[in-house]
Structures are given as structure tokens and as C-alpha cells.
Amino acid sequence: AAAPGAGWAAVCEKFRTARTLSAVESRKDPETEPYRSKYSARALLQEVKQLLSGGEEGGEARLLAVRRAVLEYELGVNHTDTEELSAGEEHLQRCTQLLQPHRLSPDCVSLYIQAQNNLGILWSERDEIKTAQTYLESAEALYNQYMKEDGNPPLDPSEHFMAEEEKLTDQERSKRFEKAYTHTLYYLAQVYQHLEMIEKAAQYCHTTLKRQLEYCGYYPVEWALNAATLSQYYLSKQCFMESRHCLAAASVIFSQAGQVPSAEDNETEQDQQDLRQRKAEIARCWIKYCLNLLQSARKLLEDNIGELDPDRQLELKAQRKKEEDEKEKGRKKAVLFGTSDIYDSVLAMEEKVSSVYPLDFQEAREIFLVGQNYVQEAKEFFQVDGYVTDHIEIVQDHSALFKVLAFFEEDYERRCKMHKRRIDMLEPVYADLNPQYYLLISRQLQFELADTYYEMMDLKVAIGNRLEELDSHTIKKINSLAQLAIKYYELFLDSLRNPDKVFPEELEEDVLRPAMVAKFHIARLYGKLITSDSKKQLENMQTSLEYYTFLVEYCEKYPNAVRAIETELELSKEMVGLLPTRMERLRAKLCPFI
């Protein structure tokens, strides 16, 4: 080797010190001088570089080039770490230039990949994502090519400055190499996300997580949260099997975190609190899973008026039976997490909740109950005192679970009771909430309460229609539900008024549809109010007409709004045409002699 003997040993020693300074000592640097050790490391690396250039010898050009590349790499990383990007880039570029001819050989491939990784990071910090992408993708390609053509555990870059007897084992080499490649994939996931190649980004995230498990390079809590978050991506794609798999793995890995005591075993109250919060976060992901599965099933099963369609139900049940036979095959296609022992726990976790669409009340109820359990778990941490927003969001989810379960319930009385449960959970939080700080949530609650009362009223009407004659109790109930629905719709509409209490001339896009629906429902509600007093009835019809007219006139003035409320507008136009005639008839009845 070049520069044998004492001189070389000193060089190696310097290099090693620089690495320790950079990786270990720098963590203890004072806040006022965060880069002290990095700067010392840099100085040492420069010295090593000087020493190397002195010892140039003819036949050892390649060896020397590789060693220089190692130094350029270390200097490049050092400069980027200390916020000197341009200098860092120059060093990294020099590193890759030196390695270019040898990049596929076992002593260079790992260093080359890591240099490309760092160039990727560097360019992404400059928001030049496309440039970052080219570096990272070429690192990925190099890994694949190397594994195909050679595949032996390659040298770790640090070994170029090690004495023969210190060199790493093959196992350790392989571990480090795979880790560098995992980072490539991880950075690529981020690059794809920035480039809005969402599906590809998700796939790379998934693979990164899988590799972290395989090579034991993960923190359980962080890993679990990542997997739980990824499950939410699959939810939005309606991939329930993948979503459940991520969540089950998240729960299993998270449970490891609780068991392993931290290194110094001085867990503070704060750490405990964090852990509890993370657990609750994962529970919230499960809630969304149950909710989405139920809601998607509802979409499949409902007829054109939003009721359960029994023909569709039979059809889907038959179809499922056929699919069940092929189930095992489909399963193998998904990317699965874990080595055998973890995998068994994940499977056991998965079995607790279905990943296929529920098709009847019984199946829906099972998923609902799982969701409801997670609601309780999440609420234990996210209590209203201190976590207002989170707490209310969980309550809203709970309400949504009841709402979709009610869809599967055939008995109207029982269905009504489910909606009453929603009211009972939503009304108290709404009453306490200050809209000054929670305007959006406050509006959501107003609207949801209104809708729930509206739905209950409809159910009571349907129940009443089955009777021979409406009894006074039912009439009273219908009217009071309708009045409450009106009250909350009006509260919602009032929240849109400006400081001078004026309703906006033109509605903002995000509230256009809800505002119009509120107006439309109020119109309908006035039409539903039951009274024996004809004068009162005439008044109600008048109010109803005013609200219908609002919709029609608004859409004439702002034709863009039509898109958002086509059905409602059509019905409103019809009512605006019909109501005056009806009112005329009623008036004639009231004063038959005029």
C-alpha cells in the first residue's frame, strides 16, 4: 500500500479522530457554538488531504484517487452540515468525479451511492427537486446494477483509512451498505412527494419502512406513527387491506416501544405523556379506518334516495363469496411487513377487524364496535380540557360512526335513537365552544347538529306515515325536531355574517354549498311543520317560499353557484312555481267569501 508504516498509521488516526469529532463529539457542542467539533473535524480532514497529496506514487494512482474521494466526501458532508452548501457541493462533485471510473467495484460502490445521496439532499435544500431526483435515481440504479453483477458485501467508505486488522466483517459491511441504500429510497420518497408523484412516493415510503424493519434500523414509536400515517394514504385510495396491514403493524411495533426501557431509564413524565399521545394518535387512525370502511360500504349499498338497496345487497353478497376463494392469492401481492415473529403478531392484530365491505347490520356493527373502542382509547388522552380541537374531532368521528351505522339499521325507531346519541354527544361541546377561536369547528358542529335533527324529523315523519292517524305526541315531536333543525341551520348561516351582521352578497367557495343546503333545508322544514292553524300554515308557507326564492335568485345572479347545488336548485324552482298557487288556495279557504 501507499505510505506504509508509521506515516500511514498517523493518517488513519487523524481520519478516525475527524470522524469521531463529527459524529460523536459534535453532539455535545455548546448551543452557542454548535459547529465547534465540525470545524475541528474539517481542519483534520484538510490536513489528511495535504498529507496524501505529498505521498503521490506512480503505480498507486487508483488507490490514491479512492482515498481522496473519501476525503472529498467527508469534507462535502462537513460543509453541508455547517450550512455551507456551495463548498459542500464542490467537494461532493470532486468525490464522484474521482470515483466515476470505479463506481461498480466493491471498494467504491457504497461511497459513490452515499455521495449521490448527499448531492440529492443538497439540491433538495435548494428546492431544485429535479436535480436531486437525478442524483438519487442514479444511486438507486447503481445499487441495483451492483447487486445484479456482483452482490458481495462492499467495503464501507471508512475502511479506506483503516489498518488491515480492523477491517469490517462481511455482515457489518452488508448492513452498512443496505442502510445507505435504504436512505436513498427514503430520500426518493420525499423527492417524489415534492414532485407530486404521490403513488410512487407512497410506494417508496412503504419500502423504506419495510427495510427499516428488516435491518432493525428503526425507533418503534416513530416507525409505528409512520406506518399509521401511511395507512391513511391507503384509506384515501380505498385500499382497505393495505391500510389495515399498516395499522396492525403500527400497533404491534408500538407495543414494543412501551416494553423497551429507554437507554438511561430516566423516562420523564414528558416522555410518558408523549407515548400516551402517540398511542391515542394511532387509535385515531384506526377510527378513520373503521369509518371509511363503513362509509364506502354504504356508498356501494345505497339506492338513489340514500336507503339500503336489498337487491344490491344480495348481489354483493354473492360476489363476495366468489372472491373469497381467490382471497389468498390477492393477499400475496401486497407488500407485507415483518420477519416471522412480528408477522404473526401483525396477522393476529389484523384478524380483529375485517377489511372487506360490511354488507348487513351485523357486519357493520362489528366494525362500528371496533371503531367505538378506539374512540374511547383516543379520548382518554385527548380530553377536552387542554385538547379542544382533537377532542371535538374525535367526538365528530364518533358521531359519524353512529350515522353510518344507522344506515344499516332497518328499524326506524332504533335508527332514530342512534341519531339521538349523536345529538347527546355534539350538543354539549357545541354549547361550550367559543367561536372566536374555533370558528370552523363551531360551524361544522352547527351544521351537523342541524342535519341530525333534520334526519330525525324525517324518520319521525316516516314512522308517523305508517300509523292510521298522526297522534298529537308524534306531531309535537316532529315539530320540535324541525324547529331545532331550523335553529342550528340559522346559527350556521349567522356565522357567515360580517361584523355588521350583514349576510354576504356573494358567498365564499368553501361555504357556498353548505350555506345553500342550509337555506334549502330550512325551506323544506317550514313546509313540514304541522299545524291546524291555517293562518300559521300560510305564514310557514310564506317563509318557505322566501328561502326557496333566495336560492333561485342567488343562482340567477351568480351562475357559477349552479354547479354546486343542481338538484336543490331544480326543486327550489319547482317550489317557487307551486307554492304561490297553493297559498292562494289556502287563502281562499280562509276567507271563502272574498
Binding site: A23, R27, E31, T32, E33, P34, Y35, Y39, T82, E83, E84, L85, S86, I121, S124, E125, R126, D127, E128, K179, H183, Y187, Q190, L225, A228, T229, Q232, L235, S236, Q270, R278, E281, R284, C285, I287, K288, L291, N292, Q295, V384, D385, G386, Y387, V388, T389, D397, A400, V429, D432, L433, N434, P435, Q436, Y437, Y438, L439, N498, P499, P504, E508
Partner: protein, 358 residues
């Protein structure tokens, strides 16, 4: 509405530090200000044009920055709106100069004093004027707090002995820092005194790039409460004015959460990186799918939740350094500012009526 509720974005270009233009590469400058709201970045191959609500060039005075950026927000604050002013940009891009003024001992009377002292003056000027107009019927109470977010932990700059504080939410009072000291203010000078005292407690660090680089986000909050008696009805209005100095944006990137080491280094600026994420998320909202995202608890964005897409008036001052060596950072600051413009804010008056029971 006429003014629009979107976040207002202002860009300010600082002059290169003395001698820097000479030593700095071949062209020296990487951008030019085209008009009062457009800026051209000399990127290759094509130059890029950015449009903002207002672009201040190197000659723009502190007074005119204040009038175009902060005046309106302070006025809204008097009318019961919450308001927030952010300074964003790379370390060394002039954030502190814009917000505080030159680093002399007495910034409060200095002719180059920044947005913050001027906001204090203006706020108390408006309060005095209101009081004179309304007579004894109206009274004001101003309080302030000053906190620092460092490494995702919250510290009270007005009480250097305090340990990490927690953010909590109250169903009536919104987000608050549990246990933060609140100091009553009676004049602009007093506000400035409190501010400078707290400022000295901030965590700064020297790097070879910058003499002083702030590693933390600092949030100075003034609560203005007014009480007006009108025929047995007591009208109470309260609003918040947040003045935020963000840590240097060059350290915001979340890309390098590499292994343990970089993860720790990266954590220093997680707040800022999450801010970017939140902004992206806010812009993309709309598919209406039910989902829960685990990572949204950056302390900074949580504290300022009302200011980002909530019901407040917000403006961002993006500071940039024109030197060509800063090209990358300047580009990313301008891109950030561009994205921020897409956030919409709903301003809703904060008013509740009390005492009208009898």
C-alpha cells in the same frame, strides 16, 4: 370581500453587506426589483419573475416598510381582529433589522428602528386616541407575553428561570402557553423594554457563515382588551397581535433526517419545516376524505393555528439577501412566500356581549 382574506406577502431585499458585492462571485447580485410588487431572480437558463403584494428594494425606508406592512394590521387589531406578522428568511437576510432595527443599545428612538417598535408606538397612539374620543366610557388593558420555541420546546423569555412550558387549548380561550408570564403594559416604551429584556434571553449561535444566527422562533404576543360601557351593556373585545421572528429558514429542510445524528440536528428546526408542510397541506385541502395525520403537532404552527387559515389577519415579510452566493436560499424563500400567498384567512370579529341580562 374587498381586501381579501388571503395572507399578505411582502418581500424585502436587504443591501449586500459592505464589501460583499466586490468579493462575491462574478455578477454580485442574483436578483433585481422590477416594480413595487415584482422581483426578478436571475436564474439560469430563464430568469424567474415573482409577484407579491409588495416588494421593498434596498432603498426602502423602515418607515415605509412599517406603513405598508404593519399599520393595517395594528389598526385591525384595534377593531377586534387577531393579527400576526411573521418575518421569514435565511439567517443574515435582515430579519432582525426589519423587525427590531439596528443592533444598537437603544432601538426605540433610533431613526432606523424596525417594525416592532413602530407597531408599539402606533398601537398605543391609537389606544390614546380612542380613549380621548370615547371619554370615560371606554377602557383598555394591554398585556404581553414573550416565548421562544427552541428544538420543539417552549421557553418563557420573560422568566428565564422557567423550564419548558406546554401548549394547551381552552374551550373558551383558544390556544395558550400554559404558565407563560403575562406582563401588563401601559406604554409603548414599556412594551419595548419588555421586548428587549426578553430578546437578550434568546438562544443564538455563531457559525462561520453568520456572526449571530437565531436557532429559535420567538413569538411576542400583545393582548389588547377593550371594555366599553353603553347603557348597561358592557362590550368586551379582545384581540391578539403576534409578532414572530422565525429561526433562519436555511435550516428548515426536513429531507435530511438521516439516522440518529442528522435527526437530532434536524430537530432544531422542525417547527419551521412543519410550517412548510402545513402550508402545503392547507393549499391541498379539498378532497374531503376522512383521514387522520399523525404528524401535525409542530409547536409553532399549533400556537399560530388561528393565524394560518383561521380567523385572523396575517402577513409575512420574506427577507432576502441579493448576493449571488445566496441564490439557492433566496429562491427557496421566494418559493415559500409564493406558496404562502395561497393560504386564505377568514377574518372574523372577536366580540362578545356581556351584562345585558337585566
Amino acid at each position: 370581500s374587498v381586501e381579501g382574506d388571503a395572507i399578505k406577502v411582502f418581500v424585502r431585499v436587504r443591501p449586500p453587506s459592505e464589501g460583499a458585492a466586490l468579493t462575491d462571485g462574478d455578477h454580485g447580485l442574483c436578483l433585481s426589483v422590477l416594480s413595487a410588487n415584482t422581483i426578478r431572480l436571475h436564474s439560469k437558463p430563464e430568469p424567474k419573475i415573482f409577484t407579491f403584494d409588495y416588494v421593498a428594494n434596498m432603498e426602502t425606508t423602515q418607515e415605509s416598510v412599517f406603513s405598508s406592512v404593519a399599520k393595517n394590521i395594528v389598526e385591525s387589531c384595534m377593531n377586534g381582529y387577531n393579527g400576526t406578522i411573521f418575518a421569514y428568511g435565511q439567517t443574515g437576510s435582515g430579519k432582525t433589522f426589519t423587525m427590531m432595527g439596528p443592533s444598537d443599545s437603544d432601538n426605540f428612538t433610533h431613526s432606523l428602528r424596525g417594525v416592532i417598535p413602530r407597531s408599539f408606538e402606533y398601537l398605543f397612539f391609537l389606544i390614546e386616541r380612542e380613549k380621548e374620543k370615547a371619554g370615560s366610557g371606554k377602557s383598555f388593558l394591554c398585556k404581553c407575553s414573550f416565548i421562544e420555541i427552541y428544538n420543539e420546546q417552549i421557553f418563557d423569555l420573560l422568566d428565564s428561570a422557567s423550564a419548558g412550558l406546554f401548549l394547551r387549548e381552552h374551550i373558551k380561550k383558544g390556544v395558550f402557553v400554559d404558565g407563560a408570564v403575562e406582563q401588563v403594559l401601559s406604554s409603548a416604551a414599556e412594551a419595548y423594554q419588555v421586548l428587549t429584556m426578553g430578546w437578550r434571553n434568546r438562544r443564538v449561535a455563531s457559525t462561520s457563515m453568520n456572526r449571530e444566527s437565531s436557532r429559535s422562533h420567538a413569538v411576542f404576543t400583545i393582548t389588547v382588551e377593550s371594555m366599553e360601557k353603553n347603557n348597561e351593556i358592557v362590550n368586551i373585545r379582545s384581540s391578539l397581535l403576534n409578532l414572530v421572528d422565525l429561526a433562519g429558514s436555511e435550516r428548515q429542510k426536513d429531507t435530511h433526517t438521516e439516522g440518529l445524528r442528522l435527526k437530532e440536528a434536524g430537530n432544531i428546526n422542525r417547527s419551521l419545516s412543519c410550517l412548510g408542510q402545513v402550508i402545503t397541506a392547507l393549499v391541498d385541502v379539498g378532497n374531503g376524505k376522512q383521514r387522520h395525520i399523525c404528524y401535525r403537532d409542530s409547536k409553532l404552527t399549533f400556537l399560530l393555528r388561528d393565524s394560518l387559515g383561521g380567523n385572523a389577519k396575517t402577513c409575512i415579510i420574506a427577507n432576502v439577501h441579493p448576493g449571488s452566493r445566496c441564490f439557492g436560499e433566496t429562491l427557496s424563500t421566494l418559493n415559500f412566500a409564493q406558496r404562502a400567498k395561497l393560504i386564505k384567512n377568514k377574518a372574523v370579529i372577536n366580540e362578545d356581549t356581556q351584562g345585558n341580562v337585566n
